[in-house]
C-alpha cells in the first residue's frame, strides 16, 4: 500500500461518504481563514501521514542520508557505473537499468577515436571525502536551539553538507573528484511537511539565516552553489522527505503532491493508480517536483502532456512574507499576471515550493518507439519542422546529429546471437550502400508514440510519410528505444570520461525554426575553434540534437567534451569554451535557456535576456517577498 492509494482510499468508500467528506472539507475551508488555525490542522495532517509513509518507506527512493545509495562525487547510484573490465571492455555495472550488467565492445574504440584517450592514462577521482577538507560549520546557535525544539530533523555532518553544496555542473563534479570542497551549507534540515517548512522559514527570518532549498540536486546551472560571499549561516532545506501524494482527484484528473517527490516515484505511484503526469525530464530519476516548478522544467513528452507550466494547477510556496497560493483549482484564470509565473523559474530565490496540484492523465494504452534515418542533418531538421507545422509531433521526437548517432552505436551492447549481428550488418549495408547514405553525414530521429493503439498506428504512419518526403528511412523500434534509454545512462558516462581525462557537459537553448541549422553549425564550429585557440590538444566532441519541437521553433541540446591532457587548468579552459558557446548561441538567436534555468552560471546574460525593466520587475518582487535575502542562493538576479 502506498501513500497515494492511502490518501485516496481514506476518502473512498461509497459515493455518499465521499460527498459528505467533501462537504466537510468545504466547511472546514470556510472556517480555516486565520493562518494559525490553518497551520494547526495541517500540522495534524502532517503527523498522521508520517506514520503512513513509514509503512511505505520501501517505495521511497531518496533517503535522508543520500550517501547510502548515491555517489558523492559523480552521477547517480553508487552501485551503477561504467568501467573497463579486465579484458579492457566497457561494462555497465549494477542491476538498475536495462543496460546494467552488459558489455559494450565498441565503446573503447569510440572513446579512443573520438577523444584520443588511452586506457593507460587514467585520471582517477579521490576515493573518499576527507572531513578535514570541509570547513567546520558556522552555526547560528539561537536558530539551532529553536530548530531543535520543533523536532524537525537536521544535521551538520560534513558528508550531509557536502552533498547539498553542489549540482552536476562539470566544475562542481571536477572539484569533488579532486577532493576540493568550497563553501558548503552549515546545516541540513529535513522538513517533513508544508508546516515544517513554514516554521523553518519563520525561524530563518527571525535569526537572519540564509536558506537554500534543495530538491533532487540535479541542477546544472550552479544553482545550488553556496555564494562564497555569504557570511551568514547557510541552511540547506532538503525537501526530499516531503514526498507524498496527498490526494488524487479522478473526476478532474488532478493530483496533489508534496514538492519533494522525485520524478520516478511520482510516476510509479501514479501508475499504480492507473495514472501518470507524463512529465519526464531526462533527470526524472532524481529531480523533484519542487525543482521542476522552481526552474520551469520541460519533459520529453511535452508534446502530449505539456511542460511544467502547462501541468501545474496550483502551487504552494512558503516565502519570508508568508505563503503564496491561489484560492481555487480553476483551469485558467484572468486575475492579472499569473502569480504562478513569479514562482515558476524563481530558482529558490523567493521561497520553497511545498505542495503542487498537477494535471494527471490515464496511463496510455499503447506505447511504441520508432526511429528514422536521414541522409543528413539538414533533411532531418526539415522533417521535424514539417511535423511541427502539421502539428502531428509524437509524444517525443528527437533528432540526433551524426556525432551522436555514432556515439549511440558505441553504446550498443554485445549482441548475443550471430543472427542479430548479421541483421545489423544487413541494415547498415542497406542504408549506406543501397540507399547511398554517407555514414559520416546520416543522422537519426528517435520517436515515441503514445495513446490508443489504433490512433498510435495511424499517427505513426503519418509521421513516417512525412519523414519519407525528406528522404528518411524507418530504422526500427530498437534504435528508438535505445535512444531514449541512453538518456538515463549518458550522465554516468561522463564519470567514465573523467576517469580518462575527458571532461564534458551538455547545455541547451531554444531557437526559431529558421535558425536551427545555423545555430547548430555555428555553435559546434565555435566550440571546436575555441578549444583550438585555448590550447586543447585533441579534437573536441561537439554534437547536438533537436529534442523538442514547437510551433515556432525547437529546443536544441549541445554536447561538448574534450580530452584535457596537457592543460594546466582544464576547468578554466572548459568554462571559457562553454561561455563562448553560450555567446554564440545568443548571437544566433537562441535563448539563454530552454529549461535548465539561469542559476549563477548564466546570470551575466540575464539583464540582456529580459531587458532593464524586466530585471527591475523581478528585483522588485524579490525585494518585496524577501527583503532580507533569506533565500540567498543568489540565482537568477
Amino acid at each position: 500500500m502506498n501513500a497515494a492509494m492511502a490518501s485516496n482510499s481514506s476518502g473512498g468508500g461509497s459515493d455518499r461518504q465521499r460527498i459528505a467528506q467533501q462537504r466537510l472539507r468545504i466547511i472546514a475551508g470556510h472556517l480555516r481563514r486565520p493562518v494559525d488555525v490553518d497551520s494547526t490542522i495541517l500540522a495534524a495532517e502532517c503527523k498522521a501521514q508520517d506514520s503512513k509513509t513509514d509503512v511505505s518507506s520501501e517505495g521511497k527512493t531518496v533517503p535522508r542520508r543520500r550517501q547510502e545509495i548515491m555517489k558523492w562525487n559523480g552521477w547517480g547510484y553508487s552501485d551503477t557505473k561504467f568501467l573497463f573490465n579486465k579484458k579492457g571492455q566497457a561494462e555497465f555495472t549494477g542491476k538498475r537499468y536495462k543496460l546494467s550488467g552488459m558489455i559494450m565492445p565498441a565503446l573503447k574504440d569510440w572513446l579512443e577515436d573520438t577523444f584520443g584517450t588511452n586506457l593507460q592514462h587514467k585520471s582517477p577521482a579521490t576515493p573518499i571525502l576527507t572531513s578535514s577538507a570541509v570547513q567546520p560549520p558556522t552555526l547560528n546557535e539561537a536558530f539551532v536551539e529553536e530548530l531543535k525544539s520543533t523536532g524537525i530533523p537536521f544535521s551538520h555532518d560534513a558528508e550531509d553538507r557536502v552533498f547539498r553544496a553542489h549540482g552536476h555542473c562539470l566544475h562542481e563534479i571536477f572539484a569533488l573528484r579532486e577532493g576540493k570542497v568550497g563553501r558548503v551549507p552549515d546545516l541540513v534540515v529535513w522538513p517533513n511537511c508544508h508546516n515544517d517548512v513554514v516554521r523553518i522559514v519563520e525561524l530563518a527570518c527571525k535569526h537572519n539565516v540564509c536558506l537554500i532549498p534543495y530538491g533532487g540536486g540535479t541542477s546544472v546551472s550552479s544553482g545550488l552553489e553556496c555564494p562564497p560571499e555569504e557570511t551568514r549561516s547557510i541552511v540547506s532545506l532538503d525537501t526530499s522527505q516531503m514526498s507524498r501524494i496527498l490526494w488524487i482527484d479522478e473526476k478532474n484528473l488532478t493530483a496533489h503532491m508534496e514538492a519533494g517527490i522525485v520524478g520516478q516515484d511520482l510516476e510509479r505511484l501514479l501508475n499504480e493508480s492507473g495514472y501518470c503526469t507524463g512529465h519526464e525530464p531526462d533527470s526524472m530519476e532524481f529531480s523533484s517536483l519542487g525543482g521542476w516548478v522552481a526552474t520551469r522544467a520541460s519533459g520529453m513528452k511535452k508534446n502530449i502532456y505539456g511542460n511544467i507550466e502547462d501541468l501545474v494547477i496550483r502551487v504552494k510556496m512558503v516565502t519570508p512574507q508568508g505563503v503564496i497560493e491561489k484560492s481555487c483549482l480553476g483551469p485558467r484564470m484572468s486575475t492579472g499576471p499569473d502569480i504562478h509565473h513569479f514562482i515558476m523559474g524563481s530558482e529558490g530565490t523567493l521561497g520553497v515550493v511545498t505542495e503542487v496540484t498537477m494535471k494527471i492523465r490515464p496511463m496510455p494504452e499503447y506505447q511504441k518507439y520508432g526511429s528514422v534515418v536521414f541522409p543528413n542533418f539538414e533533411q532531418g531538421v526539415a522533417c521535424l519542422r514539417e511535423v511541427a507545422k502539421q502539428r502531428c509531433a509524437p509524444a517525443s521526437i528527437r533528432l540526433m546529429d551524426n556525432e551522436q548517432f555514432k556515439f549511440g552505436h558505441a553504446l550498443k551492447p554485445q549482441v548475443s546471437s550471430m543472427f542479430t549481428s548479421f541483421l545489423d550488418g544487413l541494415k547498415t549495408f542497406y542504408i549506406t550502400k543501397f540507399k547511398g547514405f554517407d555514414p559520416n553525414c546520416l543522422c537519426v530521429a528517435t520517436l515515441l508514440f503514445e495513446g490508443h493503439r489504433e490512433k498510435v498506428l495511424q499517427h505513426e504512419k503519418q509521421v513516417y510519410d512525412i519523414a519519407a518526403q525528406f528522404g528518411g528511412l524507418a530504422a526500427g523500434e530498437d534504435n528508438g528505444q535505445r535512444g531514449y534509454m541512453l538518456t538515463f545512462v549518458i550522465a554516468y558516462l561522463r564519470d567514465l570520461g573523467m576517469d580518462y581525462y575527458v571532461i564534458g557537459e551538455s547545455f541547451e537553448t531554444s531557437v526559431p525554426w529558421d535558425r536551427v541549422l545555423d545555430i547548430c553549425r555555428n555553435v559546434k564550429l565555435r566550440i571546436i575553434q575555441e578549444c583550438k585557440d585555448k590550447g586543447v590538444q585533441f579534437q573536441p566532441l561537439a554534437s547536438c540534437r533537436a529534442t523538442q519541437t514547437y510551433d515556432s521553433g525547437a529546443c536544441v541540446y549541445f554536447y561538448f567534451a574534450f580530452n584535457y591532457r596537457g592543460l594546466s587548468d582544464p576547468v578554466h579552459v572548459f568554462e571559457e569554451v562553454e561561455h563562448a558557446a553560450r555567446e554564440e548561441i545568443l548571437a544566433n538567436g537562441g535563448s539563454l535557456s530552454h529549461h535548465h534555468g539561469v542559476g549563477k552560471l548564466r546570470k551575466e546574460w540575464m539583464r540582456e535576456a529580459v531587458s532593464n525593466v524586466g530585471m527591475g520587475m523581478l528585483k522588485s518582487v524579490k525585494d518585496y517577498v524577501d527583503p532580507n535575502n533569506i533565500f540567498g542562493n543568489r540565482n537568477l538576479l
Partner: protein
C-alpha cells in the same frame, strides 16, 4: 616599423615572401598543354554543393525575393507574376555562367598574351597556399585592388593554374555589352551589376540575394573590387560599402560561421592603360568599353610592361575582425529574409573593414624603383623637365636616398638585389619611355608629338600637353604615396604650424587627415594610431625627436621632412585653388559638369601666370575629391532633386576657414584636438 602599421600581420617586409614567376614554366612548356590540364580544385567543404543551374532557382525562390516581389506588386499595382518575370530578367542579365571550357580557352589565350606583355608575373606561393586552404574551410571573398582591365583575368588565370576554384566576379555592366567578349567574360565567371542602382528595389533585392546565395552555398569564391572602380590615378580609392555589406550579411545573420577575406595586391611596373588614363583625367571622355576599342588597343600588345606582382594577402576571418565591433543579436528580432536597412553600427563596421582591406592592399603592393623616381621627378619644376632636363646623377643619387627612406618606412620594394643600382634605374626609365627619356646625362619629360598645324599651338594647349605627361608620372608616384602619406601629414603639420607641441601637431594632423580622407585611405576612427605611426616612422628615419610633449624636427631630418612636405604640396595647392574658386561671389549653385572645366580654366591661367606650380589641379580626380571632401565636411550640399550632379555652397565661411587653416593663417591652437572631430 611597428606592428600597428602592418595590418597584414606576419607578411611584413622583415620576412619577405618568396615570389615565383608563373610565366617561367609557361615559357618552357606547351601553352595548349596548360590549357587542357586536369583541373582539380578542392572546393568548400562546409556547404551543400550547388550547381550553376541551381543558383538562379534558389535566388528566385528565396523568401527574401518573394517578399520583395509581393511588396513591389502591391506598390506598383503590377501582378506578382509580372514582377517575378522582371526579377527573372534581371537575374538573367546578371548571372555568370562559369564554364571550365572557356576558362581553358582563356587560359590558352592569356598564356600567349601575358608572355608577350610581361617580363614575369610574380606570385607569392605562400599566400596562394593559404588561400587554397581557406577555400575549403569557409566562403572566401577575393578583394583585389583595381588598376587595370587585366586584373581579374590574371587572378582567374592563376587560380586555374594552381587548382583553386575559379572565382565568381562582380563586374560592371558595360563589360556585358561588349560583343563576344561580354559572353566570354560571363562564361569565365563574371556576373554583371549595374553601376547606378540607386533606389531600384527589385534590382537591389535580386543582386543581394544572388550574392548572398553564392556565399551561403559556398558555390565559389566571390571576387569584387572593394574600391568599386578601376583607379585612374593608380592611387587607392575610397572603398564602396554596398557590395561589402551585402557580402558580410550572411555572417552578420549567422547564415555562415565565418567568411574569409583575402586582400590581393596587384602591382604593375607599367600599366597597359597609362596614356588613356591621363587623357581621361584631363576631360577627354572615357572610351566606351567596346570590342572594337579593345582591338584598337591591341597595339598596346606590342609593348613591354615589365613585371607584374600579385601578392595574395593572408585570409582574414571576418569573425575575428568583427569581434567587439558589432553586436549580432540585433539581427535576431526581425526575420532574416526581410529587407532591412543596415544599422549605424553595422555600417560603421563595414566601413571600417572595407578601409582596412584597402590599407592591406596598399601594404601588400610592391613599389617599383620607377615609382620612387616619379616622386622625385615631380618635385622638380615642370619647366625644368620639359626644357633643360634633370641631371641623371642627381636623380639617381636622390633615388638611392629615397629607397633608404622607403625601406625605413617598411616598404615592399621591387628592387632587384642582384642587378647594380644604376642598371635598375636605367631600365626603369627605359621601360617608361612613354613618359621620360634620358638624353646626354639628363632626363626629360616626354610630351606628345606636336601635330602638324597651320597655326602655332596656344599656351593653354601647351599646358594640357604637359599635363598629360605629368599626370602619367603622377599616377606612378601615386603607387607609393600610401607609404609616405602619414609621415607626410606630420611633416606638413610641422612645416605649416611651426609648432613642436605634440597636441597641437596632433590637432593639425587630424585636420589634414580629415580634409584629405577622400584622397588617401585612412581607417575611420584610427587617427591616433595614424599619428602614432607617423611619429614612429619619422623618428625611425631620424627626422624628428619625440618626447612626451613635443615633436621637434632634427637638423639631420630636414631632407626627409622637406621631401615629405613637398610630396603633399600639390594636393594642398590644388585644394586651395578650388576653395578659392568656390569662395568667389558668383558661385552658388553649380553642376559638376560646369565645375570641372571652370576649375581647369582657372588652374591653367594660374599655371601660365606662374602662381600655381602643380598640374594636378587639372585632374578631374582631384577635382571630384574636393567636392566629396567638402560635402563630407558639410560645406557643400548635393541637390537631391537634380538629375545631374548639382551642388550648392552651403557655408563659404567654412570653406574659407579650411583654406586658412591649411595655409597656416589660423594657428593650430584654434583647432579642436578631438580625434576625428568634424571641423
Amino acid at each position: 616599423m611597428t606592428d600597428t602599421c602592418q595590418h597584414s600581420g606576419g607578411a611584413g617586409p622583415e620576412n619577405e615572401e618568396e615570389f615565383v614567376d608563373i610565366l617561367e614554366e609557361r615559357r618552357l612548356r606547351s601553352d595548349l598543354g596548360h590549357a587542357l590540364r586536369t583541373f582539380r580544385p578542392s572546393p568548400y567543404k562546409g556547404g551543400p554543393s550547388c550547381s550553376a543551374a541551381d543558383l538562379p532557382k534558389i535566388v528566385l525562390e528565396s523568401q527574401h525575393l518573394r517578399y520583395v516581389v509581393k511588396e513591389i506588386a502591391t506598390e506598383t499595382g503590377a501582378s506578382p507574376e509580372e514582377v517575378r518575370e522582371e526579377a527573372s530578367a534581371i537575374l538573367e542579365e546578371m548571372s555568370q555562367n562559369l564554364q571550365l571550357g572557356f576558362i581553358r580557352l582563356l587560359g590558352y589565350i592569356f598564356t600567349k598574351v601575358f608572355k608577350r606583355l610581361f617580363t614575369s608575373i610574380n606570385v607569392n606561393m605562400e599566400g596562394l597556399k593559404a588561400l587554397q586552404q581557406a577555400i575549403q574551410e569557409s566562403p572566401v571573398i577575393l578583394l583585389p585592388n583595381h588598376r587595370s582591365y587585366v586584373d581579374f583575368l590574371v587572378i582567374s588565370y592563376i587560380m586555374f593554374t594552381y587548382d583553386i576554384p575559379v572565382p565568381v566576379i562582380a563586374a560592371g555592366i558595360p563589360l556585358a555589352g561588349m560583343k563576344i567578349v561580354g559572353a566570354i567574360i560571363r562564361r569565365s565567371g563574371a556576373f554583371f551589376i549595374r553601376r547606378a542602382i540607386g533606389s531600384d528595389k527589385l534590382y537591389w533585392a535580386v543582386m543581394s540575394e544572388y550574392v548572398r546565395t553564392i556565399i551561403k552555398t559556398g558555390f565559389a569564391p566571390l571576387e569584387f573590387y572593394v574600391e568599386g572602380l578601376r583607379s585612374r590615378t593608380l592611387k587607392s580609392l575610397m572603398p564602396k560599402l554596398g557590395m561589402m555589406h551585402m557580402v558580410l550579411e550572411p555572417y552578420f545573420k549567422g547564415e555562415v560561421y565565418d567568411i574569409q577575406l583575402v586582400p590581393i595586391s596587384l602591382s604593375y611596373d607599367r600599366v597597359l592603360e597609362e596614356s588613356l588614363l591621363a587623357l581621361e583625367l584631363l576631360g577627354v571622355p572615357k572610351l566606351k568599353e567596346s570590342t572594337t576599342g579593345l582591338l584598337k588597343a591591341s597595339k598596346v600588345l606590342q609593348d613591354d610592361y615589365g613585371i607584374m606582382h600579385v601578392n595574395f594577402g593572408r585570409p582574414m576571418s571576418v569573425r575575428r575582425l568583427c569581434r567587439g565591433k558589432i553586436n549580432l543579436r540585433q539581427y535576431n528580432l526581425i526575420p532574416r529574409d526581410l529587407p532591412q536597412k543596415p544599422r549605424a553600427e553595422a555600417q560603421a563596421c563595414v566601413s571600417w573593414l572595407a578601409h582596412l582591406m584597402v590599407r592591406i592592399q596598399e601594404e601588400g603592393s610592391l613599389i617599383s624603383p620607377w615609382s620612387l623616381m616619379a616622386c622625385l621627378l615631380l618635385q622638380a619644376p615642370t619647366a625644368v623637365l620639359t626644357e633643360q632636363g634633370l641631371p641623371w646623377h642627381q636623380l639617381t643619387e636622390k633615388t638611392i636616398w629615397l629607397r633608404k627612406l622607403a625601406l625605413d618606412f617598411g616598404a615592399r620594394l621591387n628592387w632587384p638585389a642582384q642587378v647594380p643600382d644604376p642598371d635598375v634605374m636605367s631600365s626603369a626609365v627605359a621601360l617608361h619611355h612613354s613618359v621620360v627619356r634620358r638624353e646626354a646625362g639628363r632626363v626629360y619629360l616626354v610630351r606628345e608629338e606636336e601635330p602638324e598645324r597651320k597655326r602655332p599651338i596656344s599656351p593653354e594647349e601647351d599646358v594640357i600637353r604637359s599635363a598629360a605627361a605629368v599626370l602619367m608620372m603622377v599616377s606612378y608616384r601615386n603607387q607609393s604615396l600610401h607609404l609616405f602619406v602619414r609621415p607626410a601629414l606630420l611633416a606638413t603639420a610641422i612645416g605649416v604650424t611651426k609648432t613642436a607641441q605634440r597636441d597641437e601637431l596632433f590637432a593639425f594632423f587630424c585636420f589634414l587627415r580629415d580634409v584629405f580622407s577622400n584622397e588617401f585611405i585612412f581607417i575611420p576612427g584610427e587617427s591616433s594610431q595614424d599619428f602614432e605611426e607617423a611619429c614612429v616612422l619619422l623618428r625611425k628615419c631620424g627626422a624628428v625627436h619625440i618626447s612626451e610633449q613635443e615633436v621637434t624636427a632634427s637638423d639631420a631630418g630636414l631632407e626627409a621632412l622637406s621631401f615629405l612636405q613637398a610630396l603633399l604640396q600639390p594636393f594642398i595647392d590644388s585644394y586651395q585653388v578650388m576653395f578659392r574658386f568656390l569662395c568667389e561671389d558668383k558661385v552658388h549653385v553649380f553642376a559638376e559638369k560646369q565645375f570641372l572645366p571652370a576649375v581647369r580654366n582657372l588652374a591653367t591661367k594660374l599655371i601660365l601666370s606662374g602662381e600655381l606650380h602643380t598640374y594636378e589641379t587639372l585632374s578631374s580626380d582631384t577635382q571630384k575629391n574636393v567636392l566629396s571632401a567638402l560635402r563630407r565636411l558639410e560645406t557643400l550640399a548635393k541637390l537631391e532633386s537634380s538629375e545631374q550632379n548639382e551642388y550648392r555652397v552651403v557655408n563659404k565661411a567654412a570653406v574659407r576657414r579650411i583654406g586658412d587653416i591649411l595655409s597656416g593663417k589660423i594657428p593650430p591652437q584654434m583647432l579642436q584636438a578631438a580625434p576625428d572631430a568634424k571641423l
